[in-house]
């Protein structure tokens, strides 16, 4: 693409929140003062050791970090290629990587004196993680969720209610994550004085993509240390699924300047790229502006946003975090795809060979691993982020397999 290869991949974003041409702050003027205030507070927090000590403490004792780096030996043997490791972020409290970011953001909310939390959710994982920290830190919480997603993620809806969150059903547009984010932005603009918006992925107006990345980078930092301890060296390749891309950027970022490491992001190809029913923003989209940032989007020639499709509600979004758009253009990260069917097969294989029920999101990453690992030598160390567990998905999978529960 048009970006030249920089000397370092870790010093972004620039002062205005840009990764190359991506990112920025495309929000209503009403929100700008707050966005600038968040930027100021976060700049202060970055230098505040006490903040990070407290953050690490919650991650250790509330979330359960570090998550293990597990050698998936049966799967490695079966595929007959690379030595495959899973970064087990599905073992976190609430069952996914989402909680890492929520802890960090609610600490920022408290520091800014905010009294109310809002969030959007697709699969419900970010909603559950947000409702969890809101309960833990004693703030009221409103979660926006598309009507379609409420229907396909009923257990998570009930979990959020148990945790004391108010769920607002979003019936506008395609009734999924994109529209939930629209409604959360509408709430935010009307309640800007007292409300903190906990964005669930490394997207949105600056400084969100940066701060979400920083909070999630614990995944990659742990992986470095754990791999060094296990194998005495760094991994050869990294693989993660990409919706908005927060689990992926969290794993990738601490390795971006180790340029011998191959890095793969796996987008959801849904029913196949040629079907048009997919969520592969990089592979099949174009740069555009939505939800506060410039990034690759699924859109028509008139700039109207297309509906995304994926069997995984967490990947069912027509955009992607701006840093991924930049990593795509510069070629540092390779972005590939996996279809609904490939993810379903990978899901089942993982259950049977590893005794791990993965979420449908990392099942996409696993689908790529299944294709790719056999082409690699046995001493090739591959780390895949198992970013969520699949309990939430058993209804969707049963339905796809024609099983009535």
């Amino acid at each position: 693409m048009n970006a030249s290869r920089p000397n370092t991949f870790v010093d972004g974003p620039d002062v205005d929140g840009h990764f190359g041409i991506y990112g920025g702050r495309y929000v209503a003027e009403t929100l700008m003062p707050l966005v600038l205030e968040l930027e100021r507070v976060y700049a202060e927090v970055r230098e505040d050791r006490e903040f990070w000590r407290e953050f690490d403490d919650y991650l250790a004792h509330y979330v359960g970090r570090p998550s293990p780096l597990y050698h998936a030996e049966p799967l490695s043997d079966r595929l007959g290629g690379a030595k495959i490791y899973f970064k087990r972020d599905e073992l976190n409290h609430t069952g996914a990587h989402k909680i890492n970011n929520c802890i960090g953001q609610i600490m920022l909310a408290l520091r800014m004196g905010k009294k109310r939390i809002i969030a959007e959710t697709g699969a419900g994982q970010h909603g559950v993680a947000t409702a969890t920290v809101a309960a833990r830190f004693g703030l009221p919480c409103v979660i926006y969720m598309g009507a379609k997603d409420i229907e396909r993620q009923k257990p998570n809806v009930f979990r959020m209610r148990l945790l004391g969150a108010e769920i607002v059903t979003v019936t506008s547009g395609s009734e999924t994550l994109k529209d939930a984010m629209n409604e959360a932005l509408r709430d935010w603009v009307a309640n800007v004085e007292d409300t903190f918006y906990i964005i669930g992925t490394a997207a949105g107006p600056h400084p969100y993509p940066r701060l979400v990345r920083d909070f999630q980078s614990v995944i990659g930092r742990e992986t470095r240390a754990q791999m060094n301890e296990r194998e005495g060296r760094l991994p050869d390749s990294l693989v993660a699924c990409i919706g908005g891309g927060s689990n992926a950027i969290g794993l990738f970022h601490p390795f971006l300047d180790d340029q011998t490491i191959d890095i793969y992001g796996v987008e959801a190809a849904g029913r196949g790229l040629e079907s048009g029913a997919h969520a592969a923003s990089l592979t099949a989209g174009r740069p555009g502006v939505l939800h506060g940032n410039r990034t690759y989007l699924l859109q028509n020639e008139d700039g109207q946003i297309k509906e995304a499709h994926s069997i995984s509600a967490g990947l069912d979004y027509p955009g992607i975090g701006p840093e991924h758009s930049w990593l795509y253009d510069t070629g540092r990260v390779k972005y590939v795809t996996a279809t609904d069917n490939e993810a379903l097969s990978a899901f089942q294989l993982c259950c049977k060979t590893e005794g791990i029920i993965p979420a449908l999101e990392p099942a996409h990453a696993l689908a790529f691993v299944i294709r790719h690992a056999p082409t690699l030598p046995k001493d090739h160390l591959l780390v895949m982020n198992m970013c969520g567990r699949g309990d939430k998905d058993i209804f969707t999978v049963a339905d796809a397999l024609g099983v009535t529960l």
Partner: protein
Amino acid sequence: MTSLAADRLGACFATLRKEGQAAMIAFITAGDPDHDTSLSLLCGLPRAGVDVIELGMPFTDPVADGPAIEAANLRALKNGANMVRTLDLVRHFRRNDDTTPIILMGYFNPIYAYGAEKFVADAAASGVDGFIVVDLPLEEIAELENPANTAGLNVVRLATPTTDDARLETVLAGAKGFVYYVAIAGITGSASADAKSVDIAVTRIRRHTNLPIAVGFGIRTPEQAAAIARVADATVVGSAIVSKLEQNLDDQGMARPELVDQVMELVSALASGVRQARSAAAE
């Protein structure tokens, strides 16, 4: 830079200022509910007393808008609206009206997809006078403002209740055409603006600019329009007009025969509210 476009907007506000009147600005969405009805509405607005037209550029994800205008956007898109056809509407309108300013209002992505420079050039050639793009705050506005300045079109800056004095200074430095004050922290068509707080805000903004100040968001009735017209240079009404349009759709979402007349009746009432506001205040 002077140009015909800048003149239309400047001339409009100059005339009203001379008459001691505030401007009535009406918003409709281009292509809502369909292209032909939208053209009839557009052409009828000046006769109903509208001084400046805000024409919405349909977008799938209008996050600054409430349910009424969001629905209008989706109706228009469903019935074939796009950026090219929006400019077609303006071109048609200009065949019979070369004085009423038209400001295109919307979101940046459709402009970016069209190509900002090309869009500004095509908009200027179609008879557009300026733009309001709600997701381009000062920090990102240059992308549209630079080509617009070259073409002599206005990119209207927005101020809101959360824009403090320090920021207001920078937001209004280099502002052109008029300033749009968003009267409430919120989305279109929600809470009502209260005239007293608007008065305070307008006074605050006047310390930073000599441009006319338009006030919008939450203004629904002729009485509210009049109250705003007493304290600001222009009153903007959008959601109420779009809701009236929606009430005149049939079960299939198509325009009933009386739709245009019904909408014009409301717009006339709003415009006379604005017109009488200052004469009533003077009595």
